[in-house]
């Protein structure tokens, strides 16, 4: 094909199209960086585009990749259902497509990532254990209706069901945003005050916002805050003890393995259909392992 005819040392350099959920999200940027590293190592060219959280845009980007006749596509899906047509289109064009980080309902050529439901479970289980299965919890959602929000909520609720002593007294969206969630926490402190025993925030940004508000109100000591992603800020906070725990998602593994799998598929080698990279709970005890 035309596009992959860029010659380097006589051999064709394979091209992989990559569409990422959002390059404004630290974790996703980390995954993307790991992919770039791996691609350089393996001598493949990456075309990385940002779907800006829009499934429609993501589909359009995959269509564009197909028109450009790339050799493989790596997609970090925006949505479970809505990003599925992209998978179908790539497969119909006989281009291998690898989902990284999260799933779509359509089955891709391969999947590399973790199950967000699991992260919600891990976080809420930690809260349950810390509180001795009894107490009041508040939950901060991401953007309502987004895949990560839905799945993390699902995992958390599964655990809540197992512990009837845990009461979810309020839940509200903080839109993944630190400032918004800080205001939300401030307002909750006004209305629930000392009744709040624990906060589950669906990502670290919101967790940090909650920590800020609780600290300002002098309540941090008495309230447990847990969030997900293990961004550097959160790891520092866990080390300091202001954030009680976060859930680590392995960006390095997800990025590197996605590219490895893609290259294998391009070369027609056998590759695992599903590579699950497990989440890990990060607490004060094991945080040093995650801090670089």
């Amino acid at each position: 094909s035309q596009t992959s005819e860029k010659e380097e040392g006589g051999a064709k350099k394979p091209v992989i199209g990559v569409t990422m959920l959002s390059m404004q999200n630290e974790f996703i940027v980390n995954v993307s960086d790991e992919m770039t590293k791996k691609a350089e190592e393996l001598g493949v060219e990456l075309i990385t585009v940002d779907a800006e959280r829009s499934a429609l845009k993501q589909i359009e980007q995959v269509e564009s990749f197909i028109a450009q006749k790339v050799d493989a596509i790596v997609m970090n899906p925006c949505e479970v259902e809505a990003s599925s047509p992209a998978v179908a289109k790539a497969l119909a064009a006989k281009i291998p497509i690898i989902n990284v980080n999260s799933e779509t309902s359509a089955k891709p050529s391969a999947f590399v990532g973790s199950d967000d439901v699991e992260s919600g479970r891990i976080a809420m289980k930690f809260i349950a254990e810390k509180l001795g299965a009894k107490g009041n919890v508040v939950m901060m959602h991401g953007y309502m209706g987004q895949a990560a929000q839905i799945k993390r909520e699902q995992g958390a609720r599964e655990v809540l069901k197992q512990y009837p002593g845990l009461k979810l007294i309020a839940h509200q969206t903080g839109e993944w945003d630190r400032a918004k969630s800080m205001s939300l926490m401030e307002n909750w402190i006004q209305s629930y005050g000392k009744d709040i025993n624990a906060v589950f925030a669906q990502n670290d940004e919101m967790g940090m916002g909650a920590v800020n508000a609780l600290t300002a109100a002098g309540m941090k000591e008495k309230v447990i805050v847990v969030s997900i992603d293990a961004i550097p800020d959160a790891l520092q906070a866990v080390k300091k003890g202001t954030l009680d725990a976060t859930v680590f998602q392995n960006a390095q593994q997800q990025g590197a393995q996605a590219i490895e799998t893609a290259v294998k598929l391009i070369k027609g080698q056998a590759a695992d259909k599903e590579v699950f990279i497990p989440f890990q709970l990060v607490t004060k005890e094991n945080v040093s392992k995650f801090l670089k």
């Binding site: 585009v49 940002d50 028109a67 949505e79 259902e81 599925s84």
Partner: protein, 317 residues
């Protein structure tokens, strides 16, 4: 002589078209992937949703109003349609009509509040934007609505004689909107209301009816966009369409519609929407890093309109 001058002025008026052609030319020279049939099919399909919204808001802006609820209308209509579009539930006309009705209803709500109260359109439609987003979440219980029928998915994904269906919808909508604006009494009154509301009133035009009409039409076109989008991604998304309003308004203004009302054409708006689409496509093709894409996108849009305004004032002199 006179005809020649009119022609020249015509070019000045579509100075943005020149900017558009220049950008296309530049892209064709930089990447061989740009000027291909398959790429243009993709560009136009992609542009169709924004263009539909932009057509609707062009009517509104010409009357001197604004509609910020476009994106939320896309979400609500998409959810309404998708809830009724599961396979074997209803024939495909049911979700389509229901979606259209939802959009028309929301548009009519905007129109009613704007004409009955003296609240500025900015606030009314900002309110509807928030309300609509909430409605979409309530209706869908905050979850994407999937498992839609093949017939419904055809709307956004199918082709007729090789032409993607969204492109066909786009062409028809463009033709109809152009005709309404240029050839009908309503179109005449839309210009009159935006150009000089007092004059329109003094001529016996029922200004409120005209305003009702434009917001309702705008709602209907937003519904069309919402249905296309939902069908294209095979899912009703409660958070679909967020931020679409700005792109649509930008397309209209880039195309020469003035926010102070009274001027604007559908051709201009179409070119505005294409311009945005082409830049976005070109930057992806050139593999510009996403952060720099935004910088370049913003700069090109300003640049294109600067070029346009230069042209216009030159033609006026």
């Amino acid at each position: 002589m006179n005809k020649y001058v009119t022609q020249l002025k015509g070019i000045g008026q579509y100075g943005i078209a020149i900017a558009f052609v220049l950008i296309c030319l530049a892209l064709s020279l930089t990447t061989s992937k740009f000027l291909t049939l398959s790429n243009w099919t993709i560009i136009i399909t992609q542009v169709s949703i924004n263009a539909l919204l932009a057509f609707g808001v062009t009517f509104v802006i010409i009357t001197g109003g604004i509609d910020l609820s476009l994106g939320s209308m896309v979400a609500v209509t998409g959810i309404v349609a998708s809830l009724l579009a599961h396979p074997d539930d209803y024939p495909v006309v049911v979700p389509v009509l229901a979606g259209l009705l939802a959009g028309i209803g929301m548009g009519a709500f905007n129109g009613t509040v704007i004409t009955k109260s003296k609240v500025p359109p900015f606030i009314v439609t900002l309110g509807t934007m928030t309300i609509g987003r909430g409605l979409a979440l309530i209706l869908s219980k905050g979850r994407p609505v999937s498992n839609l029928s093949d017939a419904f998915n055809f709307i956004g994904g199918g082709t007729v004689w090789g032409i993607p269906f969204p492109i066909i919808v786009l062409i028809i909508a463009f033709a109809v909107c152009s005709i309404v604006l240029k050839k009908t009494v309503l179109g005449r009154y839309i210009y009159a209301v935006g150009g000089n509301e007092q004059a329109a009133k003094a001529s016996g035009i029922r200004v409120n009816k005209v305003k009702m009409a434009v917001y309702t039409i705008c709602g209907g076109l937003a519904a069309l966009a919402g249905i296309l989008l939902t069908s294209r991604i095979n899912t009703g998304q409660p958070n679909a369409g967020a931020g679409f309003e700005l792109d649509a308004i930008a397309a209209a203004i880039i195309g020469g519609t003035s926010t102070s009302g009274g001027t604007g054409t559908m051709t201009g708006t179409l070119i505005g929407a294409l311009l945005i689409g082409v830049i976005s496509n070109g930057l992806d093709l050139l593999n510009v890093t996403s952060y720099y894409q935004q910088v370049v996108m913003g700069a090109i849009i300003i640049g294109a309109v600067v070029l346009d305004s230069r042209n216009q004032s030159a033609a006026q002199r």
